[in-house]
Symmetry: C2
């Protein structure tokens, strides 16, 4: 294994098969303020599933529920194929640490995707080219430094005067790995949690925040992604409501050529 | 128990606690073409969780993965509280039939929702009043007859000449129980799967179709819903892409007074 030449994302999401379950370690490269970046955790789970010898087909959906804080260090992943038929697989994954404390619970569907009628109703969100968009430079947490964010709309401006009215939660941005890496399902999974908290945008300030449940749907299989052959996506994110300490997020990840690759939704806690 | 006066929805979603897990039966009233209506299954799971003695707080999110066809008759529900803290609970549910074959896998988050800053960014989808909108009369499957659908936009028109171009997948409609019943979390859960397949709208015809994974987020707790005191919702549904036999759906359920009660997303199989 040429670990020294591995992309930092591949090192961060690596798992190894053990006797009863799979093991991994949190990555300092993708650390957030009080735990690993949720996108890296979700991508680690997805990658373990993809590498599982029983896996068939491509990821169709992954739901990750963040049950408890994940401590720095080792974790176990228990991957269970709950049901399978000719074309789909249903998986259940739990991530545990220490004395089998569940930190993360996930369900996934994999599918062998067959040719069909195809129609993309959503409109490609037009944007200036990546090269003509300025990089986002405020990178407080290690995980943010792993990405090259280039905001087209809704660049966050935190720390100014308090807003007199809520600002828009909408953002449009290019997202690529800081060290370019070809887009695959695990990187889409990670990027689908790489939007900053929508409540930060709406309130123009940072506050305690945490994703509770995240679901991403994949609209491109490995063959489609290989054909795109890209290292970045154009992404949009928005929110519809913040109420009684929880708010939603909805997002889309597009190839620069205009293909919708993944859609994502989450509900997150905030304290404000 | 005054079963004879129960609403048909309450009869359909009833479960009883047994020794090791909970039991229920599929309902003929909410039958679809080849199995129970997925919304009724999801609502049954949610109701069992709400009635569980260890449950605390209100539903925040429910993800239901439909793993295998559900046969008419009895099923078991195994409800497991995976993790809990002072304000949130993470649940794992599996529905089995016969020789412990898993038909349905679900994860849920419950939360004690505390007062916070509140902001509804999404705009209420204006519509003529329920009373001024005509009921939808084409009710092929039993479950459809349990609802009073009144389309404001995107009423499905199936069985005409094949479309020369894809039609819009967008619909806006009133949804209430046919026999009016106060909106609660289980009925929101069920209604969040009560949109007709978006691919039917886009193609103007029916075809083999099945929801694979459904997630609904709740933006109102029991207290909020009690204050609304409503028997119907204004709903919108749309899709972004249909590709390689799977398509997405996104939906919103609003109170007539303009409060966003729930948002929902699903990925579904289609054959076309």
């Amino acid at each position: 294994m040429l670990a020294v030449t591995d992309h930092v994302f591949d090192s961060a999401t690596r798992v190894t098969a053990g006797d009863s379950c799979w093991q991994g370690r949190t990555s300092e490269d993708y650390w957030a303020f009080v735990g690993p970046f949720g996108g890296a955790t979700a991508a680690t789970i997805l990658r373990a599933l993809i590498e599982h010898p029983q896996r068939a087909g491509d990821p169709l959906s992954l739901t990750v529920n963040f049950c408890a804080p994940i401590a720095q260090g080792a974790f176990d992943l228990d991957l269970r194929l709950v049901k399978a038929n000719r074309s789909t697989q249903h998986w259940l994954v739990d991530m545990t640490q220490g004395d089998a404390e569940v930190t993360t619970l996930a369900t996934a569907v994999f599918a062998v995707r067959r040719p069909s009628w195809s129609h993309q109703q959503a409109e490609f969100p037009e944007a200036p080219a990546f090269e003509q968009t300025l990089p986002y430079m405020k990178m407080a947490a290690p995980w943010v430094r792993q990405y090259d964010f280039r905001f087209v709309a809704g660049e966050p401006k935190f720390g100014g005067a308090p807003l007199t009215a809520p600002a828009s939660a909408f953002s449009k941005m290019w997202i690529g790995d800081r060290v370019p890496r070809k887009i695959d399902a695990p990187s889409l999974m990670s990027m689908s949690d790489a939007f900053f908290g929508r409540v930060f945008h709406a309130r123009g300030e940072l506050m305690p925040f945490g994703t509770v449940s995240l679901t991403t749907y994949f609209h491109a299989d490995a063959e489609d992604l290989a054909a795109e052959d890209i290292t970045r996506v154009l992404a949009v994110a928005d929110a519809r409501i913040f109420h009684k300490s929880y708010g939603d997020q909805i997002g889309e990840l597009w190839s620069p050529q205009g293909r919708l690759l993944a859609t994502t939704h989450q509900i997150a806690y905030f304290k404000a």
